[in-house]
């Protein structure tokens, strides 16, 4: 994945919507794009505070939402836990194996499942837009 390209996508989206550029916006974008997977607003806020102690939680939250809107990020909500965000641009859609013991997210993808899901929707006269498949269990470290 090309970070420059991803940044352009977002900055163009911002401009197209008549929104503005800001120092914080760029810092949050950079930090997110070089972050690990499945990060919470808190995680990202903590990383950012090291470089810019004045940056606010609300600003990080708002900009993560905006990144989701732009197609750059994806939100994952599990139960009543804090939302987590992962990079989406240039990544293929994938599902998650979620370990009930250590909480680890493992990304997986199966073409056949993807195809069968579309067929399943179609068979029910349903137009699928997106889906979410999560398999809960024990990862190899915890089993």
């Amino acid at each position: 994945m090309n970070i420059i390209e991803a940044k352009d996508i977002f900055l163009n989206y911002v401009k197209k919507k008549g929104l503005r550029h800001s120092r914080q916006r760029e810092q949050i974008l950079d930090a997110f794009l070089s972050s690990d997977k499945h990060i919470t607003v808190d995680d990202l806020h903590n990383i950012l505070k090291k470089k810019n102690p004045d940056i606010g939680y609300a600003t990080v939250h708002r900009n993560l939402k905006l990144m989701c809107e732009s197609g750059l990020a994806d939100e994952i909500k599990v139960g009543n836990k804090k939302a987590r965000y992962e990079q989406k641009y240039g990544q293929e859609h994938h599902d998650h194996l979620i370990c009930l013991k250590c909480g680890r997210f493992i990304e997986v993808r199966d073409e056949r499942i993807e195809r069968l899901q579309d067929k399943l929707a179609e068979a029910n006269n349903f137009i699928p837009q997106r889906h979410r498949l999560e398999i809960y269990g024990l990862c190899k470290k915890c089993k």
Copy 2:
């Protein structure tokens, strides 16, 4: 599905855990078992208040959680919306098509997807315990 049988499962679970029987517990159980699919705590509370105006929200909430524990009910959380509960005992596992416009839940099941999911987990050295597949889009009425 046999309601008597389902009731027994729950009442035995309650006894086995050293918990007690109560009028409210039984009323909530009965109301849940004769309720429609995908009901919220509020929905069930409102139904129950008609028969017993004194029954409290917290009691309904607690007992729905207990029914989940006993294997009788299943909780469905979508985003930050209110949790919904559906009957699980005697029902086959199924997935959901969720309409983004009208909010309808359509229950679906595909054996091939079920099998492929298990294989996918296995291939990742992961022991699956349960899964959740939700396909979001537009139902036939809304498309």
